[in-house]
């Protein structure tokens, strides 16, 4: 489903990404964990070409993008139609209602008739539990509601994979739970996802695969049980010792 081969991104002093090799199979949920500034978000943005990478290759489904090749706009749009992106700050369109936010891209990008796009928006808002708020503007919604609308907006494009950049980082614990519930349901439904997260509980219990980042490199990958209970690397142990609260 997703494969990165020798992915690298040069930074000003040291590489922001360094030889990142990952494979995510269909239906997998990959959690990217690690200290701040370790390159998790950068990797996520590279996967969608929001940040261009300087070496290596990305394959998502049947779309492959090489750092060496000239960026092709049509190819880029095909890539982005396969990939949904959830921002930490939601980035909903403030001049549109929740339903319009969701229906905009299906209508204009996929070419769905307006009525069909609106029907799809209604279905998806219902799925994230926000059918009643369809007419509200982002400013009238809570942070958790906004993030759920953003998830519905990404799902409306029927992406093969969802990329989520710290989707709950801006939310208080209560709202965090409602968003995580939504993501859990998506995972249970077989949605392929890559999530950058500081929610260790989520990473441990929902993800099928965990990758630990440090200084632009993957320190360790494995299934959550292995990584959380039997970390192979010293760097992983130090990181987990600081972030994992008892009981998680």
């Amino acid at each position: 489903m997703i494969r990165t081969i020798g992915l690298g991104l040069l930074g000003e002093t040291r590489p922001r990404l360094d030889d990142v090799n990952l494979t995510v199979a269909r239906g997998d949920v990959l959690a990217l964990i690690g200290p701040s500034g370790s390159g998790k978000t950068t990797l996520l943005r590279c996967l969608n070409c929001l940040t261009p990478f300087t070496s290596g290759r990305i394959e998502i489904g049947d779309v492959a993008i090489d750092a060496a090749a000239r960026l092709d706009v049509a190819l880029l749009r095909r890539l982005r139609q396969k990939v949904g992106f959830i921002f930490q700050g939601y980035n909903l369109f403030p001049h549109l209602t929740a339903a319009q936010n969701v229906a905009l891209a299906p209508h204009h990008v996929l070419g769905l008739p307006r009525a069909d796009a609106e029907a799809r928006a209604k279905t998806l808002l219902d799925r994230v539990g926000l059918a009643a708020r369809a007419g509200a503007r982002p400013a009238q919604l809570s942070g958790g509601e906004q993030q759920r609308v953003a998830i519905a907006r990404a799902l409306a494009m029927e992406p093969e994979v969802l990329l989520l950049d710290e989707p709950t980082a801006a939310l208080d614990p209560e709202l965090t739970q409602e968003v995580l519930e939504t993501l859990r349901a998506l995972a249970a439904g077989g949605q392929t996802m890559v999530v950058v997260t500081h929610e260790m509980g989520f990473a441990r219990h929902v993800a099928t695969q965990v990758a630990v980042f440090d200084a632009g490199r993957i320190v360790e990958t494995g299934c959550p049980d292995d990584v959380f209970t039997r970390p192979r690397e010293e760097r992983t142990r130090r990181f987990l010792a600081r972030v994992v609260r008892p009981g998680e």
Binding site: R77, R80, F85, N91, F93, P94, H95, L104
Partner: protein
């Protein structure tokens, strides 16, 4: 008998025409000061009064020479004071000068407002046409044609009395003759002094004077003693032939000047009383109000048309500057800097007169395009500020959803930028509404120009001024409210 009557009248009535021995102190004040301050306008002032080409700090001209001679007769020094010609009489009334002395045409209106001096020049209103035009030689022959003149002159009044003539008003006397030769006008009606000045441009002056009149000085009513002294000095200069010698030096002497010797000759004095203004005091009438409303309607039309155009051009400039490739970016930035950095007056002159040899825009088109091109520069910056104000995450979210760059701009970033730009746009529109008054320099008579014409006609600035201001307010206040409403609605969005 006659003299006895006027003496009796002078004794009984506190009128302006006092006795020759009137003791108003005006002459004494000038003599005590040792200076006679006379007002004229050196802008387009040849041959009346102009800056000496050899020494621009010094004024010369036939009026300057006559004034110097009058000063000598009065035993004082004549001192030139630069005034705006249109405001000579108000300047006199405010006491900044003792004598308005710059081609003032004697008519009933002037005689009512000031104490006119004895005439010092007999002029004639003439018709200037293109050399190949033999048809237009009388006022009636001008019907249906476009005829240029200066606002608030006798010629303007003569033309206005014939509604069949399409009268085009200019602010200076150079442009009408240029427009005549380019074919924008069919004729120019102005006095012979001005017309003679432009003979070199190839115009032909039709035979026969349309109307004759005289130039007089203007003294404040009540400064009778000064007026009498000036009249005496003029009489002496005329009798000695010195006045005509001065005129001859400036190539202004002609057979018409023989009338100066006979000030009581109706052809020389007061013959303009019926020239146009008619008798009696003109009042602000419903007809004036109607003219004002028409001016206001034109102001609204100009504002709306030029603002719509400015918005379209502004969007194009803004997009070129923000998203365009380097050459386009440079071109847009240059346009914006040039149009913001130069006066709109200059831009209008260039658009209407400057490029006329290449393309002749009708005045109204030039006005709309000129205002639009100027305001587009400001709008472009307002829209750019709007675009910058939209968080980068919006464009990113649009990109991530697969929108093309154009779709992202049209559907996501553009609408948000527009909301940010709305309040300053409303502000600009109000400013434009008032800036439209500037297009009178290219002969468009909008509200402010109408006000200026009417105020001169009536010799009253206050009531027409209040009416004009009221109309502007009636137009801009709803817009101010709208701007405030938009700000409340979108300002903090």
């Amino acid at each position: 008998m006659n003299g006895l009557l006027s003496l009796a009248a002078a004794l009984l009535l506190p009128g302006p025409r006092g006795s020759p021995v009137s003791d108003d102190g005006a002459l004494a004040a000038v003599k005590a000061r040792g200076v006679l301050r006379y007002g004229g306008d050196t802008e387009g002032g040849a041959p009346y009064c102009l800056q000496d080409p050899d020494d621009p700090s010094h004024v010369v001209g036939f009026e300057v020479e006559i004034a110097d001679r009058i000063g000598r007769e009065l035993g004082v020094r004549a001192e030139f004071v630069q005034c705006d010609w249109k405001n000579l009489v108000p300047t006199l009334e405010r006491g900044e000068i003792d004598l308005a002395w710059n081609g003032l045409e004697l008519d009933a209106e002037l005689a009512r407002r000031v104490r006119p001096t004895r005439p010092y020049y007999v002029f004639a209103e003439t018709i200037a046409v293109r050399p190949d035009d033999a048809k237009r030689a009388t006022l009636a022959s001008l019907d249906g044609g476009r005829v240029g003149t200066l606002a608030n002159t006798l010629a303007h009044k003569v033309l206005r009395a014939r509604p069949a003539i399409d009268t085009i008003l200019y602010d200076d006397d150079v442009a009408p003759y240029a427009d005549l030769m380019r074919g924008r006008l069919d004729a120019v009606v102005l006095d012979n002094v001005i017309a003679n000045r432009h003979l070199a441009e190839g115009i032909r002056i039709a035979d026969g004077d349309l109307l004759r009149g005289t130039y007089v000085g203007a003294v404040r009513r009540g400064d009778e003693s000064l007026a009498v002294a000036i009249d005496g000095a003029l009489e002496k200069l005329i009798a000695s032939g010195e006045l005509r010698a001065i005129l001859a030096r400036w190539k202004l002497d002609d057979a018409r000047q023989a009338l100066l010797d006979a000030p009581e000759d109706p052809r020389a004095r007061g013959l303009l009383g019926d020239g146009g203004g008619g008798g009696g005091v003109p009042k602000l009438t419903a007809a004036h109000v109607l003219l004002f409303l028409r001016g206001a309607a034109l102001t609204v039309f100009l504002s709306v048309a030029s603002f719509l155009l400015a918005m379209a051009l502004g969007v194009a400039l803004c997009l070129a500057k923000v998203y365009g490739p380097a050459p386009l970016r440079f071109a847009a930035s240059s346009y914006i800097e040039i149009y913001r950095g130069t006066p709109i007056l200059l831009q209008l002159y260039v658009l209407y007169f400057g490029i006329a040899p290449i393309i002749q825009l009708p005045a109204l088109v030039a006005a709309i395009v000129g205002l639009a091109m100027n305001y587009a520069a400001y709008e472009a910056e307002v829209y750019r500020a709007g675009l910058i104000a939209v968080p980068a995450g919006q464009a990113e979210a649009a990109k991530a959803l697969g929108f093309t760059a154009a779709q992202a701009l049209r559907l996501v970033v553009g609408p948000q930028a527009f909301r940010v730009a709305l309040p300053p746009m409303a502000n600009d529109f109000i400013a434009l509404l008032k800036d439209t008054s500037i297009v009178s320099v290219i002969t468009v008579v909008e509200l402010t120009k109408q006000y200026s014409i009417t105020a001169h006609d009536l010799g009253s600035w206050l009531v027409p001024g209040a009416l004009c201001a009221g109309l502007y307010f009636a137009m801009s206040y709803p817009l101010t409210r709208l701007a405030r409403h938009l700000e409340r609605r979108f300002g903090t969005g």
